[in-house]
């Protein structure tokens, strides 16, 4: 293949790397009003009075809005397909504030200094209520985070507001207790994966303006332009046709920008003033007033027979969704969806859980989306099982994993179309040196080295819900325009989608102009999440490119005076087998003139009934200082099955980046609150994402499988790569010094104190 399978540099790479002004802030008009938000200092309170009179008088202040000035329609900020599973529990500004940082007033002024000065002059009196801060106390807590009567769910997600339950979930197959009774070995444990901050380098920002027809345009650093359009329309009481959302280059998202943030505040300012408005969340607001990963408590029980075949799995989840319920039901269900199918010799499985409201910053979508937390808990328990059985943990996996062509207990009969997970495990063992290093080796000088491992899966798109549409057009100059709704957040999907089209049309990449991220012109796409773009949008591209190719052949045959069977396409021309040809450029020119009267276009929408899982086998080698508890990551190996790699370099970078985030979750990152519910980790000084010394050596290998339902055999890679480090590293530490750290992150102090208890 000429394009697919090649490590082609990203089409936007050179421009963004050298700092060209193509991000949201760079594009804003210089006279846009600066929007700032006055935020609640209390975790749970009701606004008794709010006096903006002194602030309004300040010169340069254009408007100040409070809860009295905004529509009363509740909505969700979750970027999900309609009807969204997330509860509609938000107002633009609410009389009740539900976490430290919750919005109280919107201030728009001619510049930042004026806006901040005005903010200081706003007087607010609060009736402070007892906040729900501990998610393990939420169910029984006297305070109800969402007492309002107009809470709305599009369908039943198990919301029980009086118990602070945003969503509950239950799935059970087989007779669990009966199966456990039959098992020779039963192990269980409780795990606390922490809330994690996305910490994308470009903070949240958007600017809005009214265009020449009076429509509201929002240019936003978002992963989900179409969902933002719907949110803005609903929240601002506009028809969707009066809203346009544009997504330029984005500086990272990782799921954070799958939830709306400042767009609605800038939007309402533009509607009220008629003027452009820009809102830029600073790093502190990005840490404290957006979303994080769901912190969870997971109780996992696994039963196996004497040979190590896992027969029963029980997972019980409590998920902390914070003050608002974005992504609560779906992250919760993904904990089980993206873990239980790993092992298909089970005879009974049960997955139950509650997502509870608390008075903290909301949790939302974060790469892995429940699979990360579930993988940590399940894989750590399987490792515990292996130890109990005295079996090599890799052997336990190889005995139990679902294989290609098989189904699994909760799979409803769907067969696995592709899997090289067994080869991933074998390859990973080899690369890390498992045979010589498992379980541990004493290095002398109070240092011990050990290895640990874990496997994981994810999905590729959302079956039966996610679709992607694309349009292809042959332009009069012989080059193509590819219109897609897919949103590149730096990952490079603009590039790989172009690669796929180029492959089918047999043209160089430069002959295709990729245009995306504008709800006025782009065909519908949910956006960059659920690891869908390669698999779902990619297949739409394949369909549309095949269709256009067919039309080109038909038109070319017509111009050459032969039938369609007698022509082929290649070398930028349509030619007969006798060698007569018409160049694409000439063909295109003729089709838009009177001779042809038919500009050639094609379109396709694709959605899949299945979500074929990608897999990763992750292996960690650590060195633990037995006197201090310090864990040094010596080596990390991840072997990936993402089906076919469309662009090997970009696939590798996704893997390395995902592993690094997983390493951060395992060893360095933690969202922390004070006893009053104020977030303490509100800067890079306090919240430590890994720097390059922290990541150390990461080695990625691929074991390509071929997914028949995927474009060129591809599945997905975006999320699955984030999940293995926490369980693999915790396993390695346990093998080194005999302590199991179930509360993430693993810190030297935790290791040290646990060692003292031995």
């Amino acid at each position: 293949m000429k394009s697919v399978g090649h490590s082609i540099p990203k089409i936007d790479g050179l421009m963004i790397a050298t700092g060209k002004p193509v991000y949201t802030e760079d594009l804003a008009m210089s006279n846009a009003l600066v929007v700032k938000i006055l935020r609640s200092p209390h975790a749970f309170a009701k606004i008794i009075s709010i006096d903006i009179s002194r602030a309004e008088k300040l010169e340069g202040v254009e408007c100040i809005l409070t809860y009295k000035d905004v529509p009363k329609e509740r909505f969700t900020l979750a970027g999900q397909s309609y009807p969204e599973p997330s509860p509609y529990d938000r107002l633009i500004l609410d009389e009740i504030v539900r976490y430290v940082g919750d919005e109280v007033a919107i201030i728009a002024a001619v510049d930042e200094k004026t806006a901040l000065l005005a903010m200081k002059k706003i007087k607010v009196a609060y009736e402070v209520w007892e906040p729900v801060l501990d998610f393990e106390q939420a169910l029984a807590h006297a305070s109800v985070v969402h007492p309002e009567d107009d809470l709305h769910c599009n369908f039943d997600i198990g919301l029980q507001k009086k118990q602070n339950i945003a969503s509950s979930y239950k799935e059970e197959v087989g007779d669990l207790e009966e199966e456990f009774k039959r098992c020779s070995v039963v192990v269980e444990d409780v795990y606390y994966p922490q809330a994690q901050a996305h910490a994308m380098m470009e903070t949240y920002r958007a600017f809005t303006y009214l265009d020449h027809t009076g429509r509201l345009v929002a240019v936003s650093s978002t992963q989900v332009p179409f969902h933002i359009r719907r949110q803005l329309a609903r929240a601002l009481l506009l028809p969707a046709s009066k809203v346009r959302v544009v997504k330029p280059r984005i500086g990272g998202g990782f799921g954070g920008k799958q939830t709306g943030s400042g767009e609605v505040f800038a939007g309402i300012v533009t509607l009220k003033t008629g003027k452009p408005a820009i809102i830029i969340y600073d790093r502190k607001e990005t840490f404290t007033c957006t979303t994080s990963r769901h912190a969870m408590r997971l109780k996992v029980r696994i039963g196996a027979d004497q040979e190590g075949i896992i027969r029963a799995i029980d997972i019980q989840v409590l998920s902390d969704t914070g003050a608002y319920g974005e992504h609560a039901p779906t992250v919760l269900s993904c904990v089980g969806h993206y873990t239980l199918p790993l092992y298909n010799k089970t005879r009974a499985v049960r997955f139950t859980g509650n997502a509870v409201y608390t008075n903290k910053m909301p949790a939302g979508a974060f790469r892995g989306y429940g699979a990360t937390q579930g993988t940590f808990a399940l894989e750590s328990t399987v490792n515990k099982l292996a130890a109990e059985l005295g079996m090599d943990p890799t052997e336990v996996r190889l005995k139990n994993i679902s294989k290609e062509g098989e189904t699994f207990l909760t799979g409803q009969g769907v067969l696995l179309g592709s899997s090289s997970l067994d080869r991933c495990i074998e390859k990973g063992k080899e690369l890390i040196g498992w045979k010589d290093k498992f379980p541990c080796r004493k290095m002398g000088n109070n240092k011990v080295r050990a290895v640990g491992m874990a496997i994981t899966m994810q999905g590729s798109g959302i079956a039966n819900i996610g679709t992607a549409s694309v349009e292809l057009r042959l332009n009069d100059d012989g080059y193509f325009t590819l219109l897609a709704g897919a949103t590149d957040m730096g990952t490079g999907c603009d590039t790989i989608l172009t690669q796929m089209a180029a492959e089918i049309l047999d043209v160089p990449m430069e002959n295709i102009v990729f245009n995306a991220g504008d709800t006025d012109t782009s065909p519908y796409d949910p956006g960059s999440y659920a690891s869908s773009t390669t698999y779902v949008a990619g297949t739409a591209i394949v369909k549309a490119a095949e269709e256009l190719k067919q039309k080109i052949l038909e038109q070319g045959a017509k111009f050459l005076g032969v039938s369609t069977q007698d022509v082929e396409m290649g070398g930028l021309a349509v030619r007969t087998f006798r060698g007569e040809e018409i160049s694409l450029a000439k063909l295109a020119e003729l089709t838009v003139l009177g001779t042809g009267k038919l500009q050639l276009v094609s379109s396709a929408t694709h959605g899949s009934e299945i979500s074929p899982p990608p897999y990763v086998a992750g292996f960690a080698e650590v060195e633990v200082d037995q006197e201090t508890g310090k864990v040094e990551l010596i080596d990390y190996v991840a072997v990936v099955d993402c089906g076919t790699m469309i662009n090997p370099n970009l696939a590798r970078i996704q893997a390395e980046g995902g592993i690094a985030q997983g390493i951060g979750m395992a060893l360095y990152e933690e969202v922390n609150y004070t006893e009053l519910g104020k977030m303490a980790t509100n800067s890079f000084m306090q919240y430590k994402i890994p720097c390059r010394k922290d990541v150390g050596k990461v080695r990625i290998a691929f074991e390509e499988s071929f997914e028949p339902s995927g474009p060129f055999g591809a599945k997905s890679i975006g999320e699955v790569v984030a999940n293995t480090p926490p369980p693999a590293i915790v396993h390695a530490v346990c093998n080194a010094v005999g302590v199991r750290i179930n509360h993430l992150p693993v810190t030297p102090e935790k290791v040290f104190l646990e060692m003292q208890k031995l």
Partner: protein
């Protein structure tokens, strides 16, 4: 207050507030390659050169660069593009937001260190945070660019 400085080899005179930081001054004068990504001098994205040395433009008051030489990536575009091509050939620019500051620090390192070891490279570049790539691709690109053997 008025300051005069040599910006990318051109003499310029600007009006700045006394409490204004260089990153904001540069951006307001069209040097949009300079990015702000934290408020705590931690991330390195705002890296420019002061007299040829890497500094955090978010942490240096503009009044302090009066009479000094400031270089942004716009001022070393040939060398920047040369390294950027290597970076993008690895696919390791990803979202690109940290890239300009990273490239400025890489070029500063090239000017300061002779035949750096891998450890020295990692040490020099530690102040440039990246959330997308996991740093491995950046290291491969730097090694290729410096002609250091890949291990």
């Amino acid at each position: 207050m008025q300051i005069t400085l040599t910006l990318n080899d051109k003499l310029v005179t600007w009006d700045v507030d006394k409490d204004e930081f260089l990153a904001d001054t540069l951006r307001s004068h069209g040097l949009l390659s300079v990015k702000k990504a934290c408020e705590t001098s931690c991330c390195g994205l705002c890296t420019v050169w002061l007299e040829g040395k890497s500094i955090l433009s978010c942490t240096v008051l503009s009044v302090r660069v009066h009479g000094k030489k400031i270089t942004t990536i716009e001022g070393v575009s040939r060398e920047a593009e040369e390294f950027a091509r290597v970076l993008t050939a690895e696919g390791s620019e990803q979202c690109g937001f940290c890239s300009p500051g990273f490239i400025m620090n890489v070029l500063a390192m090239k000017n300061e260190l002779i035949n750096p070891s891998e450890e020295e490279i990692i040490h020099y570049l530690t102040g440039n945070l990246c959330r997308c790539t996991g740093y491995m691709g950046q290291l491969r690109a730097v090694k290729t660019y410096l002609g250091v053997a890949q291990v």
